[in-house]
């Protein structure tokens, strides 16, 4: 996990939306180190999205409500900072891309954050083109973000955040409207940025089949609380994780069914089909 510097740290963080009868996040204490690829999952309504909104100060600055406890992101206390200040450090890709897009063309949407930060024109051009290419929307850059499909809109939202090259990227089910191959390509791009540039990634996902393999720090939330946290191989093989409704990857489930029947597979719990297939070849052929 690299340099062991906490880039996000919360202590007993509790937050209640205005008018809500109970907190959406409840006594959450987590530590995310610089350069980590963190996956957050849990049943719908468990507080994942709300937690993400605390990372750039949208909670509580925009949503109001009551926040208790401590939160430090990129060395800053989000309570004392404006969201535009936090935005330089934390790029957030929303669940619903429509909430995020507003410009007349895709290209302008992607350039917006850089323009705001006063990046010079040539540099901006370079960064925007790079982000458009990474997300596969360079060819449609002149179209309006409102006349394209939900999947394409998600690519625009991701490109807008990538162009800024923030220290931390938070993605809330960023590819839910995309077809599986496109989703996989986007996850690969994000994984590469994480590995090569050390950008800290926080990904919220239900589909662990697609994403468990990228992480070594999994957080499972339920009813506003962190229920399990740690190495995904351990967390996903825990019976209780299953009981709160987390979708375990099929490869992991099949491994356990076979292991229970006494098939001589290795003790390393697989997270994806490649890992399970390798173990099966080994066990059946040796």
């Amino acid at each position: 996990m690299g340099t062991k510097v906490a880039i996000i740290e919360t202590k007993n963080l509790t937050y209640t939306y205005p008018g809500a009868s109970k907190p959406s996040i409840d006594d959450v204490s987590i530590k995310i180190e610089k350069g980590e690829f963190v996956l957050i999952t849990g049943p719908s309504g468990c507080g994942k999205t709300t937690l993400c909104r605390t990372f750039n100060g949208l909670v509580p600055h925009f949503y109001q409500g009551e926040l208790k406890g401590e939160i430090t992101v990129a060395g800053l206390n989000t309570l004392d900072r404006h969201t535009y200040e936090m935005a330089k450090h934390v790029g957030l890709v929303f669940q619903n891309p429509e909430n995020q897009l507003f410009a007349l063309s895709i290209e302008k949407d992607v350039a917006f954050g850089l323009e705001n930060n006063g990046v010079d024109r040539a540099e901006m051009r370079k960064k925007v083109d790079w982000a458009l290419n990474q997300t596969g929307i360079y060819d449609i850059r002149e179209r309006s973000p409102h006349e394209i499909s939900g999947g394409q809109q998600q690519r625009v939202a991701i490109a807008s955040v990538l162009a800024m090259e923030p220290e931390i990227i938070v993605l809330d089910e960023p590819t839910s409207f995309l077809d599986p191959l496109s989703a996989q390509k986007i996850f690969e791009v994000i994984y590469k940025l994480n590995k090569e540039q050390g950008i800290t990634v926080i990904l919220v996902e239900h589909r662990l089949d697609l994403t468990a393999k990228y992480t070594n720090h999994l957080i499972v939330m339920d009813q506003g609380r962190v229920r399990f946290e740690g190495d995904p191989r351990e967390v996903l093989s825990n019976e209780e994780t299953r009981l709160i409704g987390v979708g375990i990857p099929k490869a992991t489930l099949l491994y356990e069914l076979l292991k229970k029947e006494g098939l001589g597979l290795s003790s390393k719990i697989p997270l994806c089909s490649e890992e399970l297939a390798d173990q099966l070849l080994e066990a059946l052929q040796k």
Binding site: P180, S182, G245
Partner: protein
Amino acid sequence: MIEAENVHYSYPSKVEALKGVSITIKDGEFVAIMGQNGAGKSTFVKHFNGLLKPTVGSVKIDGVETTKSSVAALARNVGFVFQNPDHQLFSETVEEEIAFALKNFGLEPEIIEKRIDWALNLLSLTQYRKTSPFLLSGGERKRVALASVLAWDPKTLILDEPTIGQDHEQKEKLRQFIMQLQTQKKTVVIVTHDVEFVAECNPRVVLMKEGKIVADGEGKEILTDPATLELSSIVLPQIAQVFAKLSDLGLPKDIIDIYEAKAILLKEAWRRGK
């Protein structure tokens, strides 16, 4: 029954989204329409409740051409749940959202009450009865949209990306509910990218690409054919991926069910004396 014949559709911007699509969906069938973004899936299913009318070709619902009936008349029989719940929700509370169509159809208040209870319970929303849909999470809003359509009990259900934002438990409930609809001879058409969900349901699968249908058949067959899937930007379900990588062992490749996978692998291990 849904009969689409040589359907072409061009948006006002002149983009031709459908280029001659024909399909027959019988009463009681469960069909998953899959394909890459922009393949025309959503455009196609919007023809099934008359939201869109073909530029060329025809769509008949129970023998009646959609050009000859109104969306309001079609809606009673064909319920449509949009991909993005925010395109559909507008009421102050979850309860009112569900009641809206029921009132429009002129149902008795007691029946409306019962239907609301039933739909809330089915989709685990009872605790949010008096809550504004806009205070709910993305996954929950999606379920409100679904509840508001299921409540009027249409004969045919069109669900555009029903599993988006849904956790494992909700997906399993949705799967069981669709299975239950099957026993009542209801027709269910889903548009989805969720290969794992389709693998678990094993419906008829229709693959689209660039405004055309490129494959139509049994889920188990299509979801285990890498060449065809790649055409439509779909990846193999995880169990099929495992068997594709075990090709050297001479095992069957058309496996998507985890329990079938287990049985085959154990048998193979036994055969090899492991």
